[in-house]
Amino acid sequence: MEEPNISSIPTMQEIPFFAHQKLRVLRNRGIINPGKIEEYIARDGYLGLAKALTEMTPAEIIKEVTASGLRGRGGAGFPTGLKWQFCSQSRGDVKYVLCNADEGDPGAFMDRSVLEADPHAVLEGMVIAARAIGAHYGYIYCRAEYPLAIHQLNIAIAQARECGLLGQDILGTGFDFDLEIYQGAGAFVCGEETALMTSIEGKRGMPRPRPPFPAIAGLWGKPSVLNNVETLASIAQIILKGAAWYASVGTEKSKGTKVFALTGDVNNVGLVEVPMGTTLRTIVYEIGGGIPGGKKFKAAQLGGPSGGCIPAEHLDAPVDYEKVAELGAIMGSGGLIVMNEDKCIVDIARFFIDFCQDESCGKCTPCREGTKRMLQILTRITEGKGKEGDIELLQEMAVIIKNSSLCGLGQTAPNPILSTIRYFRDEYEAHIKEGRCPAGVCTALKRYTIDAEKCTGCGVCAKVCPTKAAKGEKKQPHEIDEAICIKCGICMEKCKFEAISVS
């Protein structure tokens, strides 16, 4: 068959979006039908489980996972092998393996994609984890807002049970492990490990003080291991291909790959998996295809409401746990939101603290009261009512809230504020000292003015103005009364002479 056009079609490897990715967790993407367990098996699925259950002791499994350097992909980056080690050493016949599929960070959808496309990878990881720590039951805590993920998980669980890969006497080895899905009910705080466990126990999702840590006393007071979806989806391959294979990519302290949900002001929005240590520039410009409309890059938000922003001056930073922390952000679960020059960084900080304030469970004072007050201050600043000393007050409060909150929500809520002050202090000062929003976003700081030279007095603006702020005599230059103008911008939209401008 003649193919005159074929060479003009780029290969997947020639497209930067795909070329820079290294698929491990996402290795089955686009290839398997998640509703057919045999397709997963055909891609070497469940061979890791078979090896772990028939050729390795629990101690050997833990040793392999530890040697791989795998760190928790939920955000904190705690060494997975070590967590399993603590739990395996805890005494007791009843232990639990929990999968955190709550994925509450705004803008993050890595876990959702893994659960929808390759649910068996997570199940396989959970069985291996159970073998390692000595558990026989588990829960997948999945947010209810992921109906397709839950649907695919249910199919996968049923098929795995049917095949004897889940349940009693797995693969005829005598090892029992079964699990069920527990649906979240819309609370961000339930992604925090102790709040998650409290939620499964049927109580209101609120965290508990640690120690005792979940590995010692977790769900119903029993030793429990909670791992993120991405962490669990990495396990089977580590067992099958070995720790050395896993550690062959990445940086010194951050081994392996990381899945990012690349969103925001970027051309190629999507799901990307890259080796740890890939630079932000590669992710945003090569993989992401740069900023649409030729706009300039302002910052990338990493780690959602617990994270921070990385500005243009650090685009060449290698993205790994240590470097990102050094820059004042956190790796987080993988949400990477690109922001262009038209975003107001103070407004972004306000958005994240607003989210945290809304999601704060209320149990501890520093978070409950602290996020409320920080939000008030930021809102004032975006309304042009900022005061001298506000920045210093925010910084002072941040230290207290970070150090004394009961759980990660409060401990990290001040991060976006601290991070944006660190890199964009001038924007805060413009809002406070000049009542000006450099990006032109904060509505209260906008000023609509009519150029008397261009105005023909046609009266259209007066007609459309909802508050009668725009007025004037017929055929005379009109004016906008700033005091009652609500900055809706309709006048500017409707003016046919481009006589109205906003600053």
């Binding site: 068959m1 193919e3 056009n5 074929i6 003009s8 079609i9 780029p10 290969t11 997947m12 490897q13 020639e14 497209i15 979006f17 795909f18 990715q21 290294k22 698929l23 491990r24 996402l26 290795r27 089955n28 993407r29 686009g30 290839i31 398997i32 039908n33 998640p34 509703g35 367990i37 045999e38 397709e39 098996i41 055909a42 891609r43 070497d44 699925g45 061979l47 078979a50 028939t54 959808f109 959702r112 994609s113 929808e116 496309a117 390759d118 397709l148 695919q152 098929q159 049917e162 095949c163 004897g164 890969l165 693969l171 005829g172 051309n267 190629n268 929005v269 999507g270 799901l271 990307v272």
Partner: protein, 127 residues
């Protein structure tokens, strides 16, 4: 499926590979409509419905139709992969029912790649 043994895993792998590999006595073509939430939100269900309608109307049998989850480039959804015997898979982007009908008529039935809708050829490398 009955309860498996370790050896069964390899047998299933071999069986699936044998059955799904494109060959002369069928299936000669495989069409995958990517249906993660991103795909569905962009209209992948309409694309799938158009495809199944076209297949029924054409009455052909040596064609495999399947779905998968998100294949990563969410901004170009709905995405469809067409793989013909002996040729590289072709990935189509921004698909809709109309384009799916065209791709079916021209590419699947006649082998003519619809270049204006193409994203890429070949497949990703997984480790």
């Amino acid at each position: 499926m009955a309860k498996l043994t370790k050896e069964d895993l390899k047998k299933i792998k071999d069986k699936v590979l044998a059955e799904s590999t494109l060959k002369e006595d069928g299936p000669k073509t495989r069409v995958t409509v990517h249906m993660g939430t991103c795909g569905i939100a962009s209209g992948a269900k309409d694309v799938m419905n158009a495809l199944t309608a076209e297949i029924a109307a054409a009455g052909i049998k040596d064609l495999a139709v399947t779905t998968s989850g998100c294949m990563g480039m969410c901004s170009r959804e709905p995405l469809v992969t067409v793989e013909c015997l002996g040729r590289e898979p072709i990935k189509y982007e921004h698909m809709d029912a109309e384009k799916m009908k065209l791709v079916f008529q021209e590419h699947v039935l006649k082998g003519e790649i619809q270049t204006p809708f193409v994203l890429a050829r070949g497949a990703e490398n997984a480790e």
